[in-house]
């Protein structure tokens, strides 16, 4: 913290003034990061508990109820308190203003409010641990089961989701307004770094999607305590309404978890391949396509939930269509590597082998699930668990890891340890495949998700997954240890150690000063002007700005 705070010419007054009252987007971003990393630790602990229970078909490490609480807590934390706040809150806040050449966000105080609401929302969820009623309803909280759920745990859960939703909406508005209005001279939309594009699309998704989630959980709360009958079938209610509302938010939410990650990939690949990003516009506009289509596929989570099978067909079609912009991106990234001069660094390994290699698997299993006839068998099995972990863990998480290492020198002014970073990458990569690949087969063979008991013939595959999860656990600790060590002992970083061309590297010191830039930068091209022109001349690394 000490080193983080020592940002150049900022006069250090007190911790309280410096951090608690700050409206600086960089500090808010750092607070988002630290807070969500702490939450991630608890989410990971829950995951390890789950996998430990599943090491044998019927061990009793956890009581049934504790097991159910563990997967509820795991899912909720990872989605609402780790991936989303890390990508939008931490990376978005730190990078967007500085990447578009602004001093800060459009509404700095509202930005601070978003962070404090996020922290509050997280704490409210954790309160349920202490009132002794951890919710056990899964992260989806389907009624009528969730309405019967005893104790105040679920009420805290609902309150927490509300607060977090408010935080997301405020942040989304802030990002949209900032990106629209605060761009520096010459920073046209088509020159914006792809991370900024990604963040913009994500913000629109948050803005339009979150209210549906708020509606879903509000009706739960009303049914639980105020005598309404949204989901009471005896009184004419219908539990499927909840699922429609929930997935109308939560399918787009999976894109909230992946589009910014794709943005990070698009930033890091060109830098270490020393090539311009291939198909800038294709990548930017396919994000928009994904953002739009993302609102039209929600019922693919409900193919067997009580709709007619044929009602699933339109949603199958949209789910197939949405795979097209996704594959466009994959091929553009591959083409970016082609003919490059690739340097193997920790962030580069994470985005190339990590993100591209693993996310592809999740995309392909998504297509299988999107086909109604296959989903009849695969829905609610471990195959689904494999699918979404390949996209969220193999995709979003590897991008987060890559981003943490990539921007670490910028944020802290220190370099991390490259060798250990790469060792941890390999452990992470192997652990991920060990954990999640067997789950495809476990699911196909007949193991549903959210169970603590399975048939003994699936023991070996489950044990491989459990061992993999321990490997991931160790790898995550190594990764964090590397960064923590570097904060105190790392080498001093120069302004632009990677030779990158976005404004935070070309025009701001490491770490940046309070207002980011000494002089407002002026932009004359997109930020990926790498590569050898035909005449053999190399572009200047600072070629972006005048």
């Amino acid at each position: 913290m000490e080193t983080l705070a020592a940002t150049g010419d900022v006069k250090r007054k007190s911790f309280f003034r410096d951090w608690i009252l700050t409206v600086d987007h960089k500090k808010i971003g750092i607070m988002y990061a630290l807070t969500s990393i702490i939450f991630f630790f608890f989410g990971g602990l829950a995951a390890i508990l789950i996998r430990t229970q599943l090491a044998l078909p019927d061990t009793q490490v956890l009581e049934p109820q504790q097991f159910n609480q563990a997967f509820t807590v795991h899912g909720t934390i990872m989605i609402f308190l780790w991936i989303i706040p890390m990508l939008t809150g931490a990376f978005g806040n730190y990078l967007v203003p500085i990447m578009i050449g602004a001093h800060d966000m459009a509404f700095p105080r509202m930005n601070a409010l978003s962070f404090w609401l996020f922290l509050l929302g997280g704490l409210v969820l954790f309160v349920s641990f202490f009132v002794g009623a951890v919710p056990d309803v899964g992260w989806t909280a389907y009624p009528p089961y969730s309405i019967e759920s005893q104790g105040a745990g679920l009420d805290f859960w609902i309150t927490s989701v509300h607060i977090l939703g408010l935080s997301s909406i405020l942040a989304a508005i802030n990002f949209i307004v900032s990106t629209w209005n605060m761009r520096t001279e010459g920073m046209t939309f088509n020159r914006m770094p792809l991370f900024v594009w990604a963040n913009l699309v994500t913000s629109f998704i948050q803005l339009f999607g979150t209210p549906a989630l708020a509606g879903a959980v509000t009706t739960l709360l009303l049914d639980r305590h105020f005598g309404t009958v949204f989901y009471n079938v005896q009184a004419g209610g219908d539990p499927m309404l909840y699922q429609h509302l929930f997935w109308f938010y939560s399918h787009p939410a999976v894109y909230v978890m992946i589009i910014p990650a794709m943005g990070i990939v698009s930033e890091i690949l060109p830098v270490f391949a020393r090539k311009p990003i291939f198909g800038y516009k294709a990548i930017a506009y396919s994000s928009i396509m994904i953002g739009l289509l993302g609102f039209m596929v929600w019922a693919h989570h409900m193919f067997v939930a009580g709709m007619q099978m044929t009602e699933g067909i339109p949603f199958m079609i949209t789910s197939m269509i949405i795979a097209v912009p996704t594959s466009i991106k994959i091929f553009n990234w591959l083409a970016t590597l082609w003919g490059g001069q690739i340097k193997y660094t920790t962030p580069m390994l994470f985005v190339s082998l990590g993100f591209l290699g693993l996310f592809t698997i999740g995309g392909l299993s998504g297509i299988m699930l999107g086909a109604v006839p296959l989903d009849l068998h695969l829905h609610d099995t471990y195959f689904v668990v494999a699918h979404f972990h390949y996209v969220v863990f193999g995709g979003s998480m590897t991008a987060i890891m890559a981003g943490m290492f990539f921007w670490f020198p910028k944020v802290t002014g220190r370099m991390y340890h490259e060798k250990f970073g790469q060792v941890a990458f390999w452990m992470y990569f192997i652990g991920t495949n060990l954990t999640f690949f067997p789950m495809h087969f476990i699911g196909m063979a007949g193991m549903p998700r959210r169970v603590f008991f399975y048939q003994p013939e699936l023991t070996t595959l489950n044990q491989v997954a459990t061992i993999g999860s321990f490997v991931i656990g160790i790898a995550s600790l190594l990764l964090i240890a590397n960064l923590v060590h570097a904060i105190f002992k790392g080498q001093k970083a120069v302004q632009n150690p990677w030779g990158a061309q976005t404004l935070e590297w070309t025009n701001a010191s490491s770490p940046p000063t309070e207002f980011n830039f000494e002089e407002m930068p002026v932009v004359t091209s997109d930020p990926y002007q790498f590569g050898e022109k035909k005449d053999g001349k190399t572009l200047d690394d600072d070629g972006v700005t005048a």
């Binding site: 049934p64 079938v233 005896q234 939930a305 199958m316 297509i367 063979a445 549903p448 190399t538």
Partner: protein, 327 residues
């Protein structure tokens, strides 16, 4: 490993479970075989795409590794032709998958004429099956071989999901709604016709969700008819039936595990504190606990949890004997 477990293993997929069929269990219906066909097709397409992407990735990473620290790559920032190709080809493949799947959905959905209807009801945490003649079975699904069977699926409480992996189909049991699917099943290979714990609840439904399992038997039509008829007239006082029909095991376990109520394992003969006094659980105690549960609530449990059951004396006697046997 017990021999029972061993037997179960050999049953999965008729002894063929493994990578060769992607670990899918044996397909027992025509629909299941069609679905496997589609599955195979999509898997192969996915495998080709997978190998293409991963191979290019690895080749590029190795081939273009930077040898000189200052070198740059080629300054190529796009190519419209390439973009069109890698937009159109995946799009066409996906259209193909979409059309193929769509036609299949209609065949899966439409039941043929002359179906034999079985009412399936999910409840916390058991399955009830009701046959056309009114006979009911609990956690024991039997269907006639080679006949069209239509499952009409209901729920008594929360959402469950009725899944039989060998049929490749599940449908949620949603309160207030009827869902359905139909099958025409062959026997399991290897002459076995009983399949333990293969009717699975796939939608999370609370504490004992993992154990909401029923057995499946696919019987030759004649045997099946005889069984349903006998089932209807059989006096329903045997312990298994009474316990299932009244849903006792949704709160009591028989294996010592914890649940909402005390486990039955080792209950008989146990000493426990009731209303501040130590008593030994005997036949009389158990009888009273069933008929008038709130009269004596053991320490650690609250009154009002368990309903009072009206049962024939014969039924009560059998249940008590059953609990006695769980030592």
């Amino acid at each position: 490993m017990s021999s029972a477990a061993q037997k179960e293993i050999s049953q999965i997929g008729g002894g063929q479970v493994g990578l060769s069929n992607f670990y899918l269990p044996e397909a027992l219906t025509g629909t299941a075989k069609d679905i496997d066909g589609l599955f195979g097709m999509i898997v192969w397409i996915a495998l080709v795409m997978f190998i293409l992407v991963e191979a290019l990735l690895v080749i590029f990473l190795i081939r273009y590794k930077r040898k000189h620290p200052d070198k740059h790559g080629k300054a190529i920032d796009g190519n419209t032709k390439a973009e069109v190709i890698w937009t159109l080809i995946p799009a066409l493949i996906l259209v193909f998958i979409g059309i193929y799947s769509t036609s299949m959905v209609y065949t899966i959905q439409e039941p043929p004429e002359n179906v034999y209807e079985i009412k399936v009801t999910g409840m916390k945490w058991a399955w009830e099956f009701e046959y056309p003649n009114g006979a009911k079975s609990f956690n024991d699904l039997r269907i006639p071989e080679g006949e069209n069977v239509l499952f009409k699926i209901y729920s008594k409480d929360v959402i469950h999901s009725f899944w039989i992996p060998e049929f490749r189909i599940k449908q949620d049991a949603v309160p207030g709604r009827e869902t359905r699917f139909w099958v025409n099943a062959d026997q399991l290979s290897g002459g076995e016709n009983k399949y333990e714990k293969r009717v699975i609840c796939a939608e999370y439904c609370g504490n004992q969700h993992s154990l909401m399992l029923a057995d499946l038997q696919i019987m030759p039509a004649k045997e099946f008819t005889a069984w349903v008829d006998a089932e209807l007239t059989r006096p329903k006082t045997d312990a298994q039936y009474v316990v299932q029909a009244n849903g006792c095991t949704s709160c009591h376990t028989i294996d010592g595990g914890k649940s909402a109520g005390p486990t039955w394992k080792g209950l008989f003969g146990k000493k426990q504190i009731v209303n501040g006094q130590e008593v030994t659980v005997d036949e009389k105690y158990l009888e009273e606990a069933i008929v008038q549960p709130d009269a004596k609530t053991p320490e650690g449990y609250s009154t009002g949890m368990m309903p009072a059951f009206q049962m024939e004396p014969e039924a009560i006697k059998n249940v008590v004997e059953y609990i006695k046997s769980l030592q």
